[in-house]
Protein backbone atom coordinates (compact mmCIF):
# COMPACT_ATOMS: atom_id res chain seq x y z
CA UNK A 1 0.00 0.00 0.00
CA UNK A 2 2.67 2.49 1.06
CA UNK A 3 4.25 4.52 -1.72
CA UNK A 4 7.66 3.24 -2.78
CA UNK A 5 8.77 6.85 -2.88
CA UNK A 6 8.55 7.17 0.91
CA UNK A 7 11.94 6.58 2.50
CA UNK A 8 12.75 5.36 5.99
CA UNK A 9 15.11 7.48 8.08
CA UNK A 10 16.85 6.36 11.26
CA UNK A 11 18.71 8.02 14.12
CA UNK A 12 21.92 7.05 12.30
CA UNK A 13 21.23 8.74 8.97
CA UNK A 14 18.71 11.47 9.88
CA UNK A 15 21.03 14.50 9.87
CA UNK A 16 22.59 13.52 6.54
CA UNK A 17 19.28 12.77 4.91
CA UNK A 18 17.67 16.16 5.65
CA UNK A 19 20.78 18.14 4.66
CA UNK A 20 19.76 18.84 1.06
CA UNK A 21 16.53 19.98 -0.55
CA UNK A 22 13.04 20.01 0.90
CA UNK A 23 12.31 17.02 3.11
CA UNK A 24 9.05 16.07 4.85
CA UNK A 25 9.46 13.66 7.77
CA UNK A 26 6.54 11.77 9.33
CA UNK A 27 7.17 10.68 12.93
CA UNK A 28 4.98 7.69 13.70
CA UNK A 29 4.62 4.42 15.61
CA UNK A 30 2.83 1.15 14.96
CA UNK A 31 0.49 1.69 17.94
CA UNK A 32 -0.56 5.22 16.97
CA UNK A 33 -4.08 5.25 15.48
CA UNK A 34 -4.05 8.84 14.19
CA UNK A 35 -0.72 8.08 12.49
CA UNK A 36 -2.52 5.50 10.37
CA UNK A 37 -4.90 8.28 9.31
CA UNK A 38 -2.16 10.56 8.06
CA UNK A 39 -0.07 7.80 6.43
CA UNK A 40 -2.06 7.59 3.17
CA UNK A 41 -1.89 11.40 2.85
CA UNK A 42 1.88 11.30 3.30
CA UNK A 43 2.04 8.62 0.60
CA UNK A 44 0.02 10.76 -1.79
CA UNK A 45 2.23 13.79 -1.13
CA UNK A 46 5.28 11.68 -1.98
CA UNK A 47 3.71 10.72 -5.31
CA UNK A 48 2.44 14.19 -6.17
CA UNK A 49 5.61 16.08 -5.27
CA UNK A 50 7.83 13.39 -6.75
CA UNK A 51 11.26 14.81 -7.63
CA UNK A 52 10.68 18.10 -5.76
CA UNK A 53 10.19 16.79 -2.25
CA UNK A 54 11.78 13.96 -0.30
CA UNK A 55 9.27 12.20 1.96
CA UNK A 56 10.38 9.93 4.79
CA UNK A 57 9.14 8.21 7.92
CA UNK A 58 10.77 7.77 11.31
CA UNK A 59 9.51 4.99 13.59
CA UNK A 60 9.88 6.58 17.01
CA UNK A 61 10.06 3.23 18.84
CA UNK A 62 13.15 2.23 16.91
CA UNK A 63 14.66 5.73 16.72
CA UNK A 64 14.21 7.58 20.02
CA UNK A 65 17.06 10.08 19.55
CA UNK A 66 15.67 12.07 16.63
CA UNK A 67 12.22 12.80 18.14
CA UNK A 68 13.93 13.82 21.36
CA UNK A 69 16.33 16.13 19.51
CA UNK A 70 13.44 17.95 17.82
CA UNK A 71 11.32 17.86 21.00
CA UNK A 72 8.61 15.75 19.39
CA UNK A 73 6.29 14.80 22.25
CA UNK A 74 3.21 13.80 20.35
CA UNK A 75 2.51 11.89 17.18
CA UNK A 76 1.73 12.15 14.40
CA UNK A 77 4.16 15.04 13.97
CA UNK A 78 5.41 16.14 10.56
CA UNK A 79 8.62 18.16 10.27
CA UNK A 80 9.54 19.98 7.08
CA UNK A 81 13.22 20.73 6.44
CA UNK A 82 14.83 22.85 3.77
CA UNK A 83 18.57 22.32 3.27
CA UNK A 84 18.87 21.03 6.81
CA UNK A 85 16.88 23.83 8.50
CA UNK A 86 13.60 23.05 10.23
CA UNK A 87 10.92 25.17 8.52
CA UNK A 88 7.57 23.77 9.64
CA UNK A 89 6.29 21.67 12.54
CA UNK A 90 2.86 20.15 12.09
CA UNK A 91 1.48 18.44 15.19
CA UNK A 92 -1.52 16.13 14.93
CA UNK A 93 -3.82 15.59 11.98
CA UNK A 94 -3.93 17.96 9.06
CA UNK A 95 -5.74 17.87 5.72
CA UNK A 96 -3.91 17.09 2.51
CA UNK A 97 -4.90 20.48 1.08
CA UNK A 98 -3.31 22.36 3.98
CA UNK A 99 -0.18 20.20 3.90
CA UNK A 100 0.11 20.79 0.15
CA UNK A 101 -0.03 24.56 0.75
CA UNK A 102 2.61 24.38 3.51
CA UNK A 103 4.98 22.35 1.35
CA UNK A 104 4.44 24.52 -1.73
CA UNK A 105 5.60 27.57 0.28
CA UNK A 106 9.08 26.07 0.59
CA UNK A 107 9.59 24.67 -2.91
Amino acid sequence: MASEKVKTFTDANFTDEVKNGVVLVDFWATWCAPCRRIAPIVDQLADEFNGKLTVAKVDIDENPMTPSKFMVRGIPTLLLFKDGDLKETIVGLETKDRLTQLIAKHL
Binding site: P34, R73, G74, T95, K96
Partner: protein, 326 residues
Protein backbone atom coordinates in the same frame (compact mmCIF):
# COMPACT_ATOMS: atom_id res chain seq x y z
CA UNK B 1 -2.27 24.23 -7.55
CA UNK B 2 -5.41 24.03 -9.58
CA UNK B 3 -8.14 26.54 -8.85
CA UNK B 4 -10.75 24.94 -11.09
CA UNK B 5 -13.96 24.21 -9.23
CA UNK B 6 -15.19 20.64 -9.43
CA UNK B 7 -18.83 19.82 -8.79
CA UNK B 8 -20.05 16.39 -7.73
CA UNK B 9 -23.75 15.61 -7.29
CA UNK B 10 -25.16 13.12 -4.81
CA UNK B 11 -28.50 12.17 -3.31
CA UNK B 12 -27.05 12.06 0.19
CA UNK B 13 -23.86 13.56 1.55
CA UNK B 14 -22.76 12.67 5.07
CA UNK B 15 -20.24 14.86 6.90
CA UNK B 16 -18.27 12.88 9.47
CA UNK B 17 -17.06 9.31 9.81
CA UNK B 18 -17.53 8.34 13.44
CA UNK B 19 -20.13 5.78 14.55
CA UNK B 20 -22.97 8.18 13.61
CA UNK B 21 -21.69 9.05 10.13
CA UNK B 22 -20.75 5.49 9.20
CA UNK B 23 -23.99 3.98 10.50
CA UNK B 24 -25.90 6.60 8.50
CA UNK B 25 -23.76 5.60 5.50
CA UNK B 26 -24.51 1.92 6.05
CA UNK B 27 -28.27 2.48 6.13
CA UNK B 28 -28.27 4.99 3.27
CA UNK B 29 -26.15 2.64 1.16
CA UNK B 30 -28.49 -0.27 1.83
CA UNK B 31 -31.37 2.01 0.75
CA UNK B 32 -29.55 2.43 -2.58
CA UNK B 33 -28.89 6.12 -2.00
CA UNK B 34 -25.17 5.79 -2.85
CA UNK B 35 -24.09 8.09 -0.01
CA UNK B 36 -20.88 10.02 -0.09
CA UNK B 37 -19.11 10.35 3.27
CA UNK B 38 -16.63 13.19 3.76
CA UNK B 39 -14.58 11.73 6.56
CA UNK B 40 -13.11 14.89 8.08
CA UNK B 41 -9.77 15.54 9.67
CA UNK B 42 -10.49 13.36 12.71
CA UNK B 43 -11.50 10.42 10.54
CA UNK B 44 -13.15 7.63 12.50
CA UNK B 45 -14.01 10.00 15.30
CA UNK B 46 -13.24 9.81 18.99
CA UNK B 47 -13.15 5.99 19.06
CA UNK B 48 -9.93 6.14 17.02
CA UNK B 49 -8.23 7.53 20.11
CA UNK B 50 -9.55 4.99 22.59
CA UNK B 51 -8.29 1.57 23.52
CA UNK B 52 -10.78 -1.09 24.62
CA UNK B 53 -14.46 -0.28 24.20
CA UNK B 54 -16.32 -2.41 26.71
CA UNK B 55 -19.84 -1.11 26.22
CA UNK B 56 -20.44 -1.71 22.50
CA UNK B 57 -23.21 -4.33 22.47
CA UNK B 58 -22.34 -7.72 21.06
CA UNK B 59 -18.70 -7.82 22.13
CA UNK B 60 -18.67 -9.43 25.54
CA UNK B 61 -14.88 -9.09 25.87
CA UNK B 62 -14.79 -5.61 24.35
CA UNK B 63 -13.35 -4.43 21.05
CA UNK B 64 -10.54 -1.97 20.34
CA UNK B 65 -11.96 1.41 19.26
CA UNK B 66 -9.90 1.66 16.04
CA UNK B 67 -10.83 -1.96 15.13
CA UNK B 68 -14.51 -1.22 15.60
CA UNK B 69 -14.24 1.79 13.30
CA UNK B 70 -12.35 -0.20 10.66
CA UNK B 71 -15.15 -2.80 10.68
CA UNK B 72 -17.91 -0.21 10.52
CA UNK B 73 -16.19 1.53 7.64
CA UNK B 74 -15.75 -1.70 5.67
CA UNK B 75 -19.37 -2.62 6.36
CA UNK B 76 -20.63 0.71 4.97
CA UNK B 77 -18.35 0.39 1.92
CA UNK B 78 -19.53 -3.16 1.28
CA UNK B 79 -23.00 -1.78 0.51
CA UNK B 80 -21.75 0.99 -1.74
CA UNK B 81 -20.99 3.95 0.51
CA UNK B 82 -18.15 6.05 -0.85
CA UNK B 83 -15.83 7.50 1.78
CA UNK B 84 -13.47 10.29 0.83
CA UNK B 85 -10.68 12.14 2.64
CA UNK B 86 -11.05 15.83 3.23
CA UNK B 87 -12.30 18.35 5.72
CA UNK B 88 -15.37 20.40 4.82
CA UNK B 89 -14.45 24.08 4.48
CA UNK B 90 -17.96 25.55 4.09
CA UNK B 91 -21.60 24.66 3.55
CA UNK B 92 -24.45 26.53 1.88
CA UNK B 93 -27.80 25.36 3.19
CA UNK B 94 -29.84 28.34 1.96
CA UNK B 95 -31.26 26.41 -1.01
CA UNK B 96 -31.75 22.81 -1.90
CA UNK B 97 -29.75 21.06 -3.29
CA UNK B 98 -27.27 21.94 -0.57
CA UNK B 99 -23.66 22.73 -1.35
CA UNK B 100 -20.84 21.27 0.72
CA UNK B 101 -17.37 22.55 -0.18
CA UNK B 102 -14.02 20.89 0.45
CA UNK B 103 -11.50 23.49 -0.72
CA UNK B 104 -12.20 23.71 -4.48
CA UNK B 105 -14.53 20.75 -4.76
CA UNK B 106 -18.26 21.30 -4.36
CA UNK B 107 -20.53 18.44 -3.39
CA UNK B 108 -24.16 19.05 -4.23
CA UNK B 109 -26.63 17.04 -2.16
CA UNK B 110 -30.41 16.60 -2.11
CA UNK B 111 -30.16 15.57 1.54
CA UNK B 112 -27.41 16.21 4.05
CA UNK B 113 -26.55 14.31 7.22
CA UNK B 114 -24.40 16.20 9.70
CA UNK B 115 -22.35 13.86 11.89
CA UNK B 116 -19.37 16.07 12.64
CA UNK B 117 -19.17 14.94 16.26
CA UNK B 118 -17.33 16.70 19.03
CA UNK B 119 -13.64 17.36 19.57
CA UNK B 120 -11.56 17.51 22.71
CA UNK B 121 -11.93 20.74 24.63
CA UNK B 122 -8.80 22.77 25.40
CA UNK B 123 -8.22 24.89 28.48
CA UNK B 124 -8.68 28.32 26.92
CA UNK B 125 -5.33 29.47 28.27
CA UNK B 126 -3.72 29.90 24.86
CA UNK B 127 -0.51 28.44 26.18
CA UNK B 128 -1.98 24.92 26.16
CA UNK B 129 -2.47 24.97 22.38
CA UNK B 130 0.97 26.49 21.83
CA UNK B 131 2.53 23.61 23.77
CA UNK B 132 0.46 20.99 21.95
CA UNK B 133 2.82 18.22 20.88
CA UNK B 134 5.38 19.67 23.27
CA UNK B 135 4.00 18.10 26.42
CA UNK B 136 0.35 19.13 26.27
CA UNK B 137 -1.96 16.53 24.80
CA UNK B 138 -5.61 15.56 24.57
CA UNK B 139 -4.83 11.94 23.67
CA UNK B 140 -3.07 9.64 26.13
CA UNK B 141 -3.01 6.67 23.79
CA UNK B 142 -1.28 8.81 21.14
CA UNK B 143 1.26 10.64 23.23
CA UNK B 144 1.61 8.72 26.50
CA UNK B 145 4.64 6.93 25.07
CA UNK B 146 6.75 10.09 25.36
CA UNK B 147 6.27 10.20 29.12
CA UNK B 148 7.62 6.78 30.06
CA UNK B 149 9.27 7.12 33.46
CA UNK B 150 8.21 10.77 33.86
CA UNK B 151 5.56 12.47 36.02
CA UNK B 152 2.40 13.69 34.27
CA UNK B 153 -0.88 15.38 35.15
CA UNK B 154 -4.39 14.71 33.89
CA UNK B 155 -6.95 17.50 34.05
CA UNK B 156 -10.62 16.65 34.50
CA UNK B 157 -12.98 14.52 36.55
CA UNK B 158 -15.06 12.61 34.03
CA UNK B 159 -14.70 9.30 32.22
CA UNK B 160 -12.31 10.74 29.64
CA UNK B 161 -9.93 11.96 32.34
CA UNK B 162 -10.08 8.64 34.23
CA UNK B 163 -9.41 6.66 31.06
CA UNK B 164 -6.39 8.85 30.31
CA UNK B 165 -5.10 8.53 33.88
CA UNK B 166 -5.44 4.73 33.92
CA UNK B 167 -3.66 4.42 30.57
CA UNK B 168 -0.87 6.78 31.63
CA UNK B 169 -0.35 5.08 35.00
CA UNK B 170 1.19 2.15 33.14
CA UNK B 171 3.83 4.42 31.60
CA UNK B 172 4.45 7.42 33.82
CA UNK B 173 6.06 7.34 37.26
CA UNK B 174 3.26 9.38 38.78
CA UNK B 175 -0.10 10.54 37.47
CA UNK B 176 -1.74 13.47 39.24
CA UNK B 177 -5.41 14.02 38.44
CA UNK B 178 -6.37 17.67 38.84
CA UNK B 179 -10.05 18.39 39.28
CA UNK B 180 -11.94 21.63 39.90
CA UNK B 181 -14.39 20.00 42.29
CA UNK B 182 -14.12 17.71 45.32
CA UNK B 183 -15.72 14.68 43.69
CA UNK B 184 -15.54 12.95 40.31
CA UNK B 185 -18.16 12.98 37.59
CA UNK B 186 -16.79 9.73 36.13
CA UNK B 187 -18.74 6.47 36.21
CA UNK B 188 -18.27 4.29 39.29
CA UNK B 189 -16.38 1.60 37.33
CA UNK B 190 -13.84 4.10 36.05
CA UNK B 191 -13.46 5.84 39.43
CA UNK B 192 -12.77 2.56 41.20
CA UNK B 193 -10.26 1.54 38.56
CA UNK B 194 -8.38 4.84 38.82
CA UNK B 195 -8.45 4.95 42.62
CA UNK B 196 -7.02 1.43 42.82
CA UNK B 197 -3.88 2.31 40.83
CA UNK B 198 -1.02 3.00 43.28
CA UNK B 199 0.60 5.75 41.19
CA UNK B 200 -2.52 7.84 40.51
CA UNK B 201 -3.26 10.54 43.04
CA UNK B 202 -5.85 13.29 43.09
CA UNK B 203 -5.66 17.03 43.66
CA UNK B 204 -9.13 18.31 44.46
CA UNK B 205 -10.56 21.83 44.03
CA UNK B 206 -7.71 22.95 41.82
CA UNK B 207 -7.74 24.58 38.42
CA UNK B 208 -4.86 25.12 36.04
CA UNK B 209 -4.16 28.81 35.48
CA UNK B 210 -0.87 28.53 33.58
CA UNK B 211 1.50 26.01 32.01
CA UNK B 212 5.27 26.51 32.08
CA UNK B 213 7.42 26.84 30.05
CA UNK B 214 6.62 28.38 26.66
CA UNK B 215 10.13 29.81 26.32
CA UNK B 216 11.76 26.41 26.61
CA UNK B 217 9.12 24.97 24.28
CA UNK B 218 8.22 22.19 26.66
CA UNK B 219 6.14 21.49 29.74
CA UNK B 220 8.00 21.84 33.04
CA UNK B 221 5.22 22.62 35.53
CA UNK B 222 1.62 23.67 36.04
CA UNK B 223 0.45 26.67 38.00
CA UNK B 224 -2.64 25.71 40.01
CA UNK B 225 -5.21 27.78 41.85
CA UNK B 226 -7.30 26.44 44.69
CA UNK B 227 -10.96 27.05 43.83
CA UNK B 228 -11.86 27.39 47.55
CA UNK B 229 -9.02 29.52 48.94
CA UNK B 230 -7.55 31.08 45.79
CA UNK B 231 -4.08 29.96 46.89
CA UNK B 232 -1.65 29.27 44.04
CA UNK B 233 0.72 26.35 43.86
CA UNK B 234 3.02 24.75 41.30
CA UNK B 235 3.20 21.11 40.23
CA UNK B 236 6.30 19.89 38.38
CA UNK B 237 5.34 17.58 35.47
CA UNK B 238 6.73 16.73 32.05
CA UNK B 239 3.37 16.22 30.44
CA UNK B 240 -0.21 17.29 30.89
CA UNK B 241 -3.23 15.54 29.41
CA UNK B 242 -6.46 17.48 29.07
CA UNK B 243 -9.64 15.45 29.62
CA UNK B 244 -12.21 18.14 30.38
CA UNK B 245 -14.78 17.09 27.83
CA UNK B 246 -15.69 17.92 24.27
CA UNK B 247 -17.10 20.73 22.17
CA UNK B 248 -19.50 20.03 19.29
CA UNK B 249 -18.09 20.70 15.82
CA UNK B 250 -20.78 23.13 14.69
CA UNK B 251 -18.73 26.14 13.53
CA UNK B 252 -19.57 25.28 9.89
CA UNK B 253 -23.28 25.63 10.56
CA UNK B 254 -23.45 28.81 12.63
CA UNK B 255 -26.08 31.13 11.20
CA UNK B 256 -27.49 28.34 9.00
CA UNK B 257 -28.80 25.72 11.43
CA UNK B 258 -30.42 26.33 14.81
CA UNK B 259 -28.05 25.64 17.71
CA UNK B 260 -28.60 25.27 21.44
CA UNK B 261 -26.91 27.86 23.68
CA UNK B 262 -24.16 25.31 24.40
CA UNK B 263 -23.35 25.05 20.69
CA UNK B 264 -24.95 21.66 19.98
CA UNK B 265 -27.22 21.31 16.94
CA UNK B 266 -30.94 21.43 17.65
CA UNK B 267 -32.94 18.48 16.34
CA UNK B 268 -36.67 17.70 16.41
CA UNK B 269 -38.93 14.82 15.30
CA UNK B 270 -36.08 12.35 15.14
CA UNK B 271 -33.03 13.72 13.42
CA UNK B 272 -34.49 16.78 11.69
CA UNK B 273 -32.63 20.09 12.00
CA UNK B 274 -34.05 23.56 11.43
CA UNK B 275 -33.56 23.17 7.65
CA UNK B 276 -35.75 20.64 5.79
CA UNK B 277 -33.51 18.01 4.21
CA UNK B 278 -30.67 18.48 6.69
CA UNK B 279 -30.43 15.81 9.38
CA UNK B 280 -28.07 15.46 12.32
CA UNK B 281 -26.71 12.47 14.20
CA UNK B 282 -24.23 11.64 16.92
CA UNK B 283 -22.38 13.85 19.36
CA UNK B 284 -22.87 17.02 17.31
CA UNK B 285 -26.50 17.02 18.45
CA UNK B 286 -26.26 15.01 21.68
CA UNK B 287 -25.07 16.70 24.84
CA UNK B 288 -26.73 14.13 27.08
CA UNK B 289 -25.78 10.54 26.22
CA UNK B 290 -22.68 10.88 24.00
CA UNK B 291 -22.08 7.15 23.62
CA UNK B 292 -20.80 5.27 20.59
CA UNK B 293 -23.97 3.19 20.53
CA UNK B 294 -26.32 6.18 20.80
CA UNK B 295 -24.34 7.91 18.04
CA UNK B 296 -24.74 4.84 15.83
CA UNK B 297 -28.46 4.66 16.67
CA UNK B 298 -29.01 8.28 15.74
CA UNK B 299 -27.02 7.74 12.53
CA UNK B 300 -29.52 5.06 11.60
CA UNK B 301 -32.38 7.45 12.38
CA UNK B 302 -30.86 10.17 10.21
CA UNK B 303 -30.46 7.82 7.25
CA UNK B 304 -34.06 6.60 7.52
CA UNK B 305 -35.33 10.19 7.89
CA UNK B 306 -33.26 11.27 4.87
CA UNK B 307 -34.53 8.35 2.80
CA UNK B 308 -38.16 9.19 3.66
CA UNK B 309 -37.55 12.86 2.98
CA UNK B 310 -36.11 12.08 -0.45
CA UNK B 311 -38.92 9.71 -1.44
CA UNK B 312 -41.45 12.23 -0.06
CA UNK B 313 -40.08 15.09 -2.11
CA UNK B 314 -39.97 12.85 -5.18
CA UNK B 315 -43.64 12.00 -4.64
CA UNK B 316 -44.43 15.67 -4.15
CA UNK B 317 -42.79 16.67 -7.41
CA UNK B 318 -44.45 13.76 -9.27
CA UNK B 319 -47.75 14.89 -7.78
CA UNK B 320 -47.08 18.49 -8.80
CA UNK B 321 -46.39 17.37 -12.37
CA UNK B 322 -49.72 15.53 -12.45
CA UNK B 323 -51.47 18.67 -11.21
CA UNK B 324 -49.86 20.69 -13.99
CA UNK B 325 -50.88 18.13 -16.64
CA UNK B 326 -54.47 18.32 -15.51
Amino acid sequence: MSTAVRTIERQVVIIGSGPAGLTAALYAARANLKPLVIEGIEAGGQLMLTTMVENWPGYRDGIMGPDLMTELRAQAERFGAEIIQGDVTSVDLSNRPFVVSVENTKYVAQALIVATGASAKWLDLGVDKKLSGRGVSTCATCDGFFFKGLPVAVIGGGDTAMEEAIYLAKLATQVTVIHRRDSLRASKVMQDKAMSMPNIDFLWNKEVVDINDLEQGKVTSLVLRDTQTGAQSELAVDGVFIGIGHVPNTALFEGQLALHDNGYLKTHDGSRTSVAGVFAAGDVQDHVYRQAVTAAGSGCMAAIDAERFLSGTLHESAHAELEVKR
